[in-house]
């Protein structure tokens, strides 16, 4: 159902400040099709801002974001119309899964999944519903199709959110701490679905503290601190003995 991702994510010289607080400083990153990149780092390192810059929920101050050949560079210097058009195009290629799920509470699980199909892609309702049911089945929640989010557990909500992301046929899925708001017992279901997606060849950028997922699933680990990318390396190296002391220190704290 999900075609293999066909395109590259490229970030060049990305910078973003909130007031005097420089959250991103000159970040470069390339994610090839089908790659799973896990972004780690202490809080305030800029990892969430980076991932939110990729679908332009945060407008970068400088630098460029390119997804599937659609490039938006230095949006501050571009006319508003062009920024809006490129933003829309880039959002068509990406999907995002949020830490706080952000399901639409006034819609059932199925309605959440097919909202984008109907409102953005103009798919007929019965076709969308059929596709939505398949996606809910894929995340193991077809029996919850008619339930409102208020009746779902956190893990179920996040799996509906993943189905909602998949419905738009994204080339890249951005995960912003998808399991941080979940009880430990509920995380595995969500991580399981993410593993399946990775195995199917979906391009994924994942901000997470889940070291086991990072070790098993990621192709690369990007470690950020103070708005910089400090390490961009293979999991074997990142979790191995030869990684920088800063990363060792960070990982040590994570396991405490």
């Amino acid at each position: 159902m999900n075609k293999i991702s066909q395109c590259t994510v490229r970030v060049r010289g990305l910078a973003k400040a909130f007031g005097a607080n420089k959250v991103l400083r000159n970040v470069d990153l390339v994610v090839n099709k089908g790659e799973v990149v896990v972004i780690m780092g202490p809080s305030g390192s800029g990892k969430t801002t980076l991932i939110r810059s990729l679908n332009l929920l945060e407008m970068p101050d400088q630098g460029s974001v390119e997804i599937c050949g659609i490039e938006l560079s230095d949006p501050a210097a571009k006319p508003a119309g062009e920024v809006r058009r490129k933003t829309f195009q880039i959002r068509q290629k990406t999907a995002m899964v949020f830490q706080s799920f952000n399901l639409f509470p006034h819609m059932t699980a199925l309605q959440n999944v097919i909202e984008g199909l109907i409102s953005v892609k103009g798919v007929a309702k019965d076709v969308a519903r059929e596709r939505g049911m398949l996606l809910l089945e894929k995340v193991g929640l077809s029996e919850k199709a008619d339930a409102y989010p208020g009746k779902l557990s956190g893990g179920q909500k996040q799996r509906v959110a993943i189905a909602r992301a998949l419905a738009m046929d994204p080339e890249v899925i951005l995960f912003d701490e998808p399991t941080s708001a979940l009880d430990p017992e509920l995380r595995d279901d969500v991580l399981g679905v993410m593993r399946d997606l990775a195995n199917e060849g979906m391009t994924m950028l994942v901000v997470t503290h889940e070291t086991r997922f990072a070790r098993d699933v990621a192709d690369r680990i990007v470690f950020m601190e103070g708005g910089y990318v400090i390490e961009d390396t293979r999991p074997a190296h990142f979790f191995g003995p030869t990684v920088s002391d800063r990363c060792k220190q960070f990982l040590g704290r994570l396991h405490e």
């Binding site: 706080s100 006034h106 909202e115 409102s119 208020g150």
Partner: protein, 216 residues
């Protein structure tokens, strides 16, 4: 008091309809105008926000009575003459729109920012995000203050009596004058306002419960 009530009944029947008509239609029209003002107040375009802010500031910051008198007695100075009922309806609409726009705006603002982000992330534009995602939630949040506004508006229609509209308060005044039984007459009419507003309160509670049950 019963005899007076029965004597006044033919007049009261008509007056209740005028009161209800003024209150409900200015509520509907004020809601439409108020929604447009609320949307202008959160619009990305700054002059629009400023315009809406000024409107609310003026119509919420001045007495309704002044607005009614200004429209009915003031506008004829500029050659614009409006009949009593349309003049009262216009004033009540403009006045309630200012308050209702604030109710709608606070409802919209109470919707979690993540809802906008989730909609934007999936490629919804501004208008679809509003109509499909934000307003259905924000309007539900706005039901209690909007209900209170409708009840206040029902009572505010009594000010239309100052521009000769024959609604409940004016009938009480007239019947009081002809019978010298002001006390009884105002108690009767006050009770009618109270009954109308009890019905509206019950409707509001019913609507709130119905909607909150649905999302569970």
């Amino acid at each position: 008091m019963v005899d007076l009530f029965l004597r006044a009944l033919p007049l009261l029947e008509k007056a209740v309809l005028v009161t209800l008509g003024l209150g409900l239609s200015s509520f509907v029209l004020g809601s439409i105008l108020g929604m447009l003002i609320a949307l202008a107040r959160i619009a990305p375009f700054k002059p629009l926000r400023w315009l809406a802010f000024s409107y609310v500031s003026v119509f919420r910051g001045t007495p309704l009575l002044i607005q009614i008198l200004l429209i009915y007695f003031g506008l004829p100075n500029y050659g614009i003459t409006i009949d009593p009922i349309p003049a009262a309806l216009l004033a009540l609409t403009l006045f309630s729109a200012a308050y209702l726009s604030e109710n709608f705006r606070s409802g919209i603002n109470a919707v979690d920012k993540g809802q906008w982000e989730a909609a934007w992330a999936m490629g919804l534009g501004y208008r679809k995000t509003l109509t499909r995602i934000i307003l259905p939630q924000g309007l539900r949040i706005a039901i209690p203050p909007v209900g209170s506004r409708l009840i206040a508006l029902m009572k505010d229609t009594s000010l239309a009596s100052t521009v000769t509209v024959v609604e409940l308060t004016r009938v009480a005044d007239q019947m009081g004058a002809t019978t010298f039984r002001y006390m009884d007459m105002f108690i009767i009419v006050g009770t009618i306002y109270w009954i109308i507003n009890q019905v509206l309160t019950i409707l509001q509670t019913w609507l709130e419960e119905k909607l909150s049950r649905r999302y569970q």
